[in-house]
Symmetry: C3
Subunit: 328 residues, 3 copies
């Protein structure tokens, strides 16, 4: 049995047998709905797949002849590419649909679009959508696997999985760690999925940011809330800096980018408050000099690019487990 | 010999030998130019390929190493994806070119663009173009196979083929059936290709719609024309509801969508006039509540999603027959 | 040893062993930095690959499991497709990123974008960028292979390689030939890369065009400069007609397209000045009737489509040599 949850995970050379993973879902629409064991199944499988990325020939035939459709009603090149590459490594075929440049949806409902894709024998639909619950809506109505690639401010489950995978890889454990999530929590699907994953795996979570973006209501989820970053840094094992979506001009929530950086940016000076082995994370793309000092982003404590690499392994695992669950 | 034209077609497990199909064309640019036997060859081959879609591994190596270029000068995500997936199942490589987002054609003629693709060893060019005759123009000038993915208001041959395939699959025959095609006939390449295919295969066709969109001139093609839907429904074996292109704002042709629906929409009330086993078809995407009542679209008599699935098999057959004809 | 540099090159049936080519670079960012022997290595390898394009199954497994990312910050469908098809023939996977329709780069630096692609195990990044030096900048900072797909007015190395390949193929040699490059030299990366390649391989080069677009400063590169096309044509073995980028409206550089054609267009009348066996080249897309008479573009002396076909072989060679150099 593969177990990256132990301090010294064994890395098998080939993917696990699905029968051994205990995974039974055709979809991944949220972290909230998963048990800790199900999360661990994904991480174990990802650990096995991570070795595929460094082999000379990076493919395994696990999903040969299967089709993944990236249905991105909201644009996200970064997530699209990660799923696309994960599918290629599993030998699946990929079709990309970008609503922005597409005529697919002309007046058609999301369900009809998806039903059409299923009628074309799509095995997996990765859905990025601006509405919370969109992927769950489809998952209940399709035989195809539906993977949530981000739905409004609700969840972004594969981002949370790659985040906990990275923490586990670097720290050897999740349980008992203190993770600070910093920034625009209110509108962040990344934050919500991370909170669920971290709490289920036994971490302690503190949310940090302006009062307007980190309201006290989050305490009901079982996390701490503070508006004072400096008080949190000395005790944090991990700081996860969320991207400030300043292009969306949330002027009503904070006055300016420079004021945000003054209070919540991870500057060199603030980083001195961190434990020497604290991890610095960011889901990307980073705004250098805003959420994080540029040199810090490239420093040894930063695992930002590890997150990207682990995202590939985690997405391979999710595709493998979900798309295989129907006939494996 | 495979024959889905018989009431109980045999479904072989592997694609037919091209030599047995009698198909000799490198291109498919119109239904009008085909004989009934040629249409049957495509349907037979599609029938063989339909089984590929439900196998565990959906690929056959028929077009391995060949390249299909989707050259969509006019956008159509739906048709593009169907051809892309058909090519994947035949193990071909696919390159997508969308004129809307492309710099390919900057000042260049269509012929030069296509000649360049052929110089890059494109084996098949699927052309969607706003001008009638565009694919025939290319077919005469290229060694590559040219497949018409819709040319202006002229033809959309693979749509007609998937429509007759679906009728044949559900009814066991085409000859002697009465098919009503309803809606914007004047501007519809789908209608023109369907009329040719249905008449060649021995069906009786009635066109129904507003006088502005269904002029009497169509009677010269050998079909009936009427502007009274209710009089046609009791006798129809199949009703094919064309999409109202209301985004193109044909205000000069009918006053409003609600008036269109009042006279030509397939409402629940009107559907009671249909024979119990009549088929309801639509090329998609459907405007629920306009051409068709939403519940009817999802009812047992609706074969709308079957059409989509059969489109994949039909396009596999067309690619296989045309691209194989040159060296098979 | 394969040598297309001899008058009768031998065409091997399979790609050369990388060890035999002498190629040691992971990147191709400019022709200027290459030695004549390195250019010959690419041409030799391309010659071997050209046979792949005409085989029944056009693929070789050389880059199976490797990933090429077409990162086109500036659009170029033509170059993108050529690299994509080259990658397919080497069995590599391809991801396309078009900055125009992409959310990838939202506020992110080019280096961060590229580092992210590398973290996703991209093996090769083909970069098209509006800034001179962009691909060199990335090449120095990435482990992945970086191929310059055109950087500002600096270089377009694979275009020059396919041009010299085509000359070599048709003439049997480069050394001692007289090549006239005609048109907008000042802003042309194609011209710069061609000049470097031709001079390194021993050709004589004359630049021809309006004074505004062909300043005397180019003489420092070791080429002749003239503004009188008719004086050059009788002595030229090759005329390479650059595309007039009239969509960019360089009104300050020449008064009108018709005046350009009057002085620098290759008309039928002017073509009579050419040697009978002179080659007519153009990087495409051609403006028929502007840089070149339409019939001339399709005449026996025109090798414009040969250039396109050879571009595929040259790009296969470049991908193979660069991406293989790291672990071959």
């Amino acid at each position: 049995m593969i177990s990256p949850m132990s301090a010294t995970p064994s890395i098998p050379a080939s993917p696990p047998q699905r029968a051994d993973t205990g995974w039974t879902h055709k979809d991944l629409t949220s972290i909230e709905a998963l048990t800790a064991d199900e999360i661990k199944s994904i991480l174990d499988t990802a650990s096995a797949f991570k070795t595929v990325g460094v082999r000379e020939v990076k493919k395994v035939p696990a999903l040969r002849g299967k089709t993944l459709v990236n249905l991105f009603v909201e644009p996200s090149t970064r997530t699209r590419i990660s799923f696309e590459l994960a599918a290629f490594r599993l030998s699946a075929d990929v079709v990309n649909i970008s609503a922005a440049t597409s005529s697919l949806t002309k007046g058609e409902t999301l369900k009809d679009t998806a039903k059409n894709l299923e009628a074309l024998h799509a095995d997996i639909i990765v859905l990025r959508h601006s509405s919370a619950g969109a992927s769950q809506f489809l998952a209940e109505r399709l035989d195809a696997s539906v993977i949530n690639g981000g739905d409004g401010a609700h969840e972004h489950p594969t981002q949370a999985l790659l985040d906990v995978y990275t923490i586990l890889e670097k720290k050897g454990r999740i349980a008992g760690l203190h993770v600070a999530i910093i920034g625009d929590i209110l509108f962040s699907r990344v934050a919500r999925s991370n909170i669920h994953a971290l709490l289920k795996l036994g971490a302690r979570v503190t949310l940090v940011g302006p009062r307007t973006l980190v309201p006290r209501e989050f305490e009901k989820m079982g996390v701490a809330v503070t508006h004072d970053l400096d008080s949190v840094l000395p005790d944090a094992d991990v700081v996860n800096l969320l991207r400030i979506q300043h292009e969306r001009q949330r002027k009503e929530y904070f006055p300016s980018l420079s004021e945000y950086t003054a209070f919540f940016g991870l500057t060199q000076q603030r980083a001195e408050l961190l434990k020497p082995d604290a991890l610095i994370m960011h889901p990307g793309p980073i705004n250098r000099g805003i959420e994080i000092d540029s040199d810090l982003a490239d420093s040894a404590r930063s695992v930002i690019l590890d997150q990207v690499t682990n995202g590939l392994a985690v997405r391979m695992a999710v595709l493998y487990l979900c798309a295989g669950s129907r006939n494996g």
